[in-house]
């Protein structure tokens, strides 16, 4: 199919019959307008346009009948027009994994950089709510940007996590080939010996070959028996497997916090609790900065790393080059008393599933909690982070099939994140044609975490070619100290630290054995923990099996004292107080 508007329009017309969509193509961007009945049809239409090789971006202006248009016309707010920051070289909007990675990369140069985040902490949004897999780069098309950046990024993790003092483990992925690998339809046509040869011998070799073609290192074809030896708790009838040794696991928010802290220590200014309302441009539509709810930040370049809101932000600069369709992913975490259950990230090859919803693994966090998921659900609402019963059951069935004896009653939490997908299903990292000075870093979904260091490099190169002068800062310090973690220390180290500071002897979170000192340190870091959730992400207080039943009152008290605010003003997260008022006697 060519990338002509007529062809795309025709295909949408035949594939999505209940739609009425007009297509216009300009500079490789497809603009869709009209209407569909359902959200699924809307997403389908967008994908038809996006799948086209000649299309680099899809912008939709499509009414979906089943979705109530509850976009309350944004109230005319008068934003403060005073300049709160003058003449920044760069302002980065959004302190997720991309924004923080870019900020840290830019902090190597002699530049004035401000990183703006609407929430009270970094790494919210999709950056915290994913499974922390540092992917190997086999799942993406060879020509995609995300494939290139994933391969490059994955290889950078060993050195970077060393520098930034973040636990990172390359535990490898075991891709299993099972009796669900072939679609039922295909199975019914196949003589059993052909099926057996396919599952045992042909498919794993094809996967390995396919991976090698994509330059993925460290692939190994395994027999079913070898796969079972690697993961003895797998179900018995595994046909074969492929081991991908470069898969790594990391705590996604610890990674982002580390990037942000190192960036701040190297001179980046982080403004939390500051929402960017729009990009400000001059008559030539060149960007001049951003309008925030606190005032104006002047900057020569604006980096749009606003996640699911990247399309809306770009539009404020008159740059409609992509539309984000939110895709929710839910995950389940289990008690770490099952930390030995599986040693690898385990997944299952299944043909015939929806191309955009495949994926998901049974893995474990660096701390040893088994973690299953994510799902992939197209949702109209960018803030829809609900986990439905259907998703919980779907996850349990999907991975319970691989691990039939797993005790799923040891579930300690489930959560969801919303991926910022574009219709081309690739990263959209470009200097905008329409708004000079605007660099869009959009469509960063999986493998965004693995790619993050490479995304940062790539963006800096774009800035260089856009005319930014990059002079290395001789004072740049790549090292960060993640701080001691009581639970993981040797007894000698524990004794030593308690000797230095007795607060290392006071445990506030019994499940994860977090000490008061660790909480105090978290509040005192370069990117301070200002909320109960922020303390949790830095120290793990509240992440254990009791889900903060024990530590919550204690953490609330410490935050109140350290931040010098009344206890009823302590927040769980932005806009959410933990408690409401004093009691009659309190």
């Amino acid at each position: 199919m060519s990338g002509s508007a007529e062809d795309i329009e025709e295909e949408i017309g035949s594939e999505v019959p209940n739609s009425d969509i007009k297509v216009r193509v300009e500079d490789g961007i497809a603009y869709l307008s009209g209407k569909t009945e359902t959200w699924e049809e809307y997403v389908g239409a967008g994908h038809i346009a996006g799948e086209n090789d000649d299309i680099r971006g899809v912008v939709t202006d499509v009414d979906v009948e089943e979705i109530e248009d509850n976009q309350s016309e944004s109230m005319e707010r008068q934003e403060p027009d005073e300049v709160i920051k003058e003449k920044q070289d760069i302002v980065i909007v959004g302190a997720g994994v991309s924004g923080c990675s870019i900020a840290r990369e830019l902090s190597k140069y002699d530049l004035d950089v401000t990183l703006v985040e609407r929430e009270l902490d970094v790494s919210l949004g999709a950056s915290k709510a994913n499974n922390g897999c540092v992917h190997v780069g086999i799942d993406q098309g060879k020509e995609t940007l995300k494939h290139k950046l994933c391969l490059r990024g994955n290889a950078m993790f060993d050195d970077l996590t060393e520098e930034l003092d973040v636990p990172f483990r390359r535990i490898g992925t075991l891709l299993t080939i099972t009796d669900r690998t072939l679609p039922e339809k295909v199975e019914s046509y196949l003589p059993s010996f052909v099926r057996s040869i396919l599952l045992k011998h042909v498919i794993p070799k094809l996967v390995t070959f396919y991976g090698k073609m994509k330059n993925v290192p460290g692939l190994e074809t395994l027999s079913g028996k070898e796969a079972k030896e690697l993961e003895p708790n797998l179900k018995d009838d595994i046909y074969s497997g492929v081991l991908m040794s470069t898969m790594g696991i990391i705590s996604p928010y610890e990674w982002v916090i580390a990037l942000a802290e190192n960036a701040v220590e190297n001179g980046v200014e982080l403004m939390l609790d500051t929402e960017v309302i729009e990009i400000i441009s001059n008559e030539e539509n060149e960007v001049e900065g951003v309008q925030t709810d606190r005032g104006i930040i002047e900057a020569d370049y604006v980096i749009n790393a606003a996640g699911v809101y990247a399309d809306e932000l770009a539009e404020t600069a008159g740059a409609k080059e992509f539309t984000i369709h939110p895709r929710k992913g839910s995950l389940i975490i289990f008690d770490k008393n099952n930390s030995d259950y599986n040693d690898h990230v385990v997944s299952e090859l299944r043909f015939g599933g929806d191309e955009y919803t495949k994926g998901g693994t049974a893995m474990k966090t660096p701390e040893g909690n088994p973690e299953w998921g994510p799902t992939a659900v197209e949702v109209p609402d960018k803030e829809d982070k609900s986990v439905t019963e259907e998703e919980i059951n779907q996850i349990l069935n999907k991975y319970g099939f691989l691990f039939p004896d797993f005790e799923t009653g040891d579930m300690i939490r489930y959560f969801a994140g919303v991926r910022a997908s574009t219709f081309t299903e690739d990263f959209f990292i470009e200097a905008s044609d329409k708004a000079p000075g605007l660099i869009n870093v959009a469509g960063i979904q999986s493998p965004g975490l693995a790619s993050s260091p490479a995304i940062a490099e790539y963006v800096v190169r774009i800035l260089g070619s856009e005319g930014l002068e990059l002079v290395e800062d001789p004072d740049f310090d790549p090292e960060r100290d993640g701080g001691p973690r009581f639970e993981e220390m040797s007894e000698e180290r524990r004794k030593e630290l308690i000797g230095e500071d007795s607060e290392y002897g006071r445990i506030v979170c019994r499940c994860e054995k977090v000490t008061e000192k660790e909480v105090l340190e978290a509040i005192d870091e370069p990117v301070p923990a200002l909320t109960v959730d922020a303390v949790k992400r830095r120290t793990r207080a509240g992440m254990g099996r009791c889900q903060s039943g024990f530590c919550r009152p204690r953490v609330i008290n410490i935050l109140s004292e350290e931040l010098g605010i009344p206890i009823e003003e302590v927040k769980k997260k932005k806009g959410a107080n933990s408690v409401t008022r004093r009691t009659k006697e309190g």
Binding site: N337, E383, K385, S386, V387, T388, E389, E391, I392, G409, M411, I412, R413, Y414, F415, E491, R494, K495, I498, G499, S502, E503, Y504, G505, R506, I507, R510, C511, K513, E516, R545, C546, Q547, S548, G549, F550, R552, P553, I556, N557, I567, E568, K571, K572, K573, K574, G575, A576, N577, S578, V579, T580, R581, R582, T583, K584, E585, G586
Partner: protein, 418 residues
């Protein structure tokens, strides 16, 4: 540090056990209580309602009053205690690693250990309520602590899920503090807490109580905005479609069960009973590891503190006898099995050589009227109690005389319908 007896947890169970061991002849200075909180008493200091001590003292005391009685005895006796102290680990040869700010990291080698760590509350995720994850969802015990100890309110309009005792008590407490309780929702067909609490905490305060209902979704991205409640089919336990109702609230209080806190027990390799969630114990309250005993909610969840005290005294005495070098009792075990309509028993086994009568505690699985609770050996009823009604929230017991057990291999505890 080497001691004769170390007790982990200084709630009613740990206090009772330490005092009993002392009475049995263990020097007070050889007994050490390890308590993670800032004061002795466990959960009692936050239980400011009354109803404690009805059986042991013949009067209705508040939680702090009940605790004070035992705390004073501990102080008077000169039993050692370590506050702000978390036990991190126990080894099979009975060395406890514990930590606190004053003494730092310490190793306490003990001739005997009594586990009295109590229990924790089941979370929202363990009962799988779908939806978002806003602020404002609290376990009932945490709410109790916030209100009664920290002096702060968790919220202003609450839905209570589960009719466990703490949940009902919290419903009343919230009302008294000027918050609104929209209702208490219970998935089962009968209350899971004590009848007296249904009357005194809910009916007396006109708090709506909905049986066969549960919360099926949590709404709100920041602070809780509301919950969906649904009626439950009592046979399938599935929500009945079409009965969903949105209830606006800023607080969801969960009183959906307690889990004995046995992480330390697991690490030392003590055998646990899947039904109680606690260690398997014999009539002396000794666990499967020699010299380690258990009592209170760490063994199984009690409904009355008076029973906790009684059982912990048994554990304390047993530990004392163990320390003093009593006979090697671990010869032959008679297992105690749960029969018709019995969920579990404590103890789960009895040593043959012991001669004192044994009180067996158990819970029924479902409510029944006009029944007999029976202990049966080889088809013969050796002990029975006629009961007008038995209910899961109310713990039952039978006292078994030793002379009936001389030839027994097992004792069956059952509910007999006439």
């Amino acid at each position: 540090m080497d001691v004769k007896l170390a007790v982990i947890g200084a709630g009613p169970a740990g206090l009772g056990a330490a005092l009993a061991a002392h009475e049995e002849g263990i020097d007070a200075e050889e007994i050490h209580l390890i308590e993670r909180d800032v004061e002795l008493g466990g959960i009692l200091p936050q239980c400011i309602h009354n109803g404690f001590g009805k059986f042991n003292f013949g009067e209705r005391m508040t939680g702090p009053e009940y605790a004070t009685h035992y705390v004073e005895e501990v102080e008077d006796a000169g039993i050692n205690y370590h506050l702000n102290t978390m036990a991190l680990d126990i080894s099979e040869d009975r060395v406890i690693t514990a930590v606190n700010p004053e003494e730092g990291l310490m190793r306490i080698g003990a001739d005997a250990i009594i586990l009295a760590m109590g229990c924790r509350e089941r979370s929202r995720y363990q009962i799988r309520i779908p939806g978002e994850r806003p602020a404002g969802v609290f376990p009932a015990g945490t709410v109790q602590r916030l209100i009664n100890m920290e002096g702060v309110m968790p919220g202003e309009k609450a839905v209570i899920l589960g009719s466990g005792d703490v949940g009902m008590i919290i419903a009343r407490r919230l009302e008294l503090e000027g918050a609104e309780v929209e209702g208490v929702y219970e998935i089962m067909s009968s209350p899971s807490g004590l009848p007296r609490n249904v009357q005194q905490c809910l009916r007396d305060y006109d708090i709506p109580f909905h049986l066969n209902h549960t919360v099926t979704e949590v709404h709100g991205d920041k602070r809780l905005e509301g919950v969906t409640v649904s009626e439950i089919d009592p046979d399938t336990f599935e929500p009945i479609p079409g009965t969903e109702r949105y209830v606006e609230c800023d607080t969801l209080v969960l009183s959906v069960g307690l889990i004995p806190e046995n992480e330390l027990s697991k690490e030392v390799g003590i055998s646990l009973d899947g039904r109680t969630g606690g260690p398997i114990v014999d009539e002396e309250r000794e666990t499967s590891v020699d010299g380690i005993f258990g009592c209170g909610n760490v063994v199984h969840v009690y409904d009355l503190v008076d029973d906790v005290t009684k059982n912990s005294e048994l554990a304390g005495k047993s530990a004392a006898r163990f320390i003093q070098g009593g006979t090697d009792r671990r010869v032959e075990n008679i297992s105690i099995n749960a029969g018709n309509n019995v969920a579990y028993t404590v103890p789960q086994g009895i040593e043959k050589s012991n001669e004192e009568p044994v009180e067996v505690f158990f819970r029924v699985e479902r409510e029944e009227e006009n029944v007999k609770t029976q202990a049966v050996v080889s088809g013969k009823v050796i002990e029975e109690n006629a009961k007008r009604v038995v209910k899961p929230p109310i713990m039952e017991s039978l006292s078994i005389s030793r002379k009936d057990l001389s030839e027994a291999e097992e004792v069956l505890i059952r509910v007999f319908e006439e």
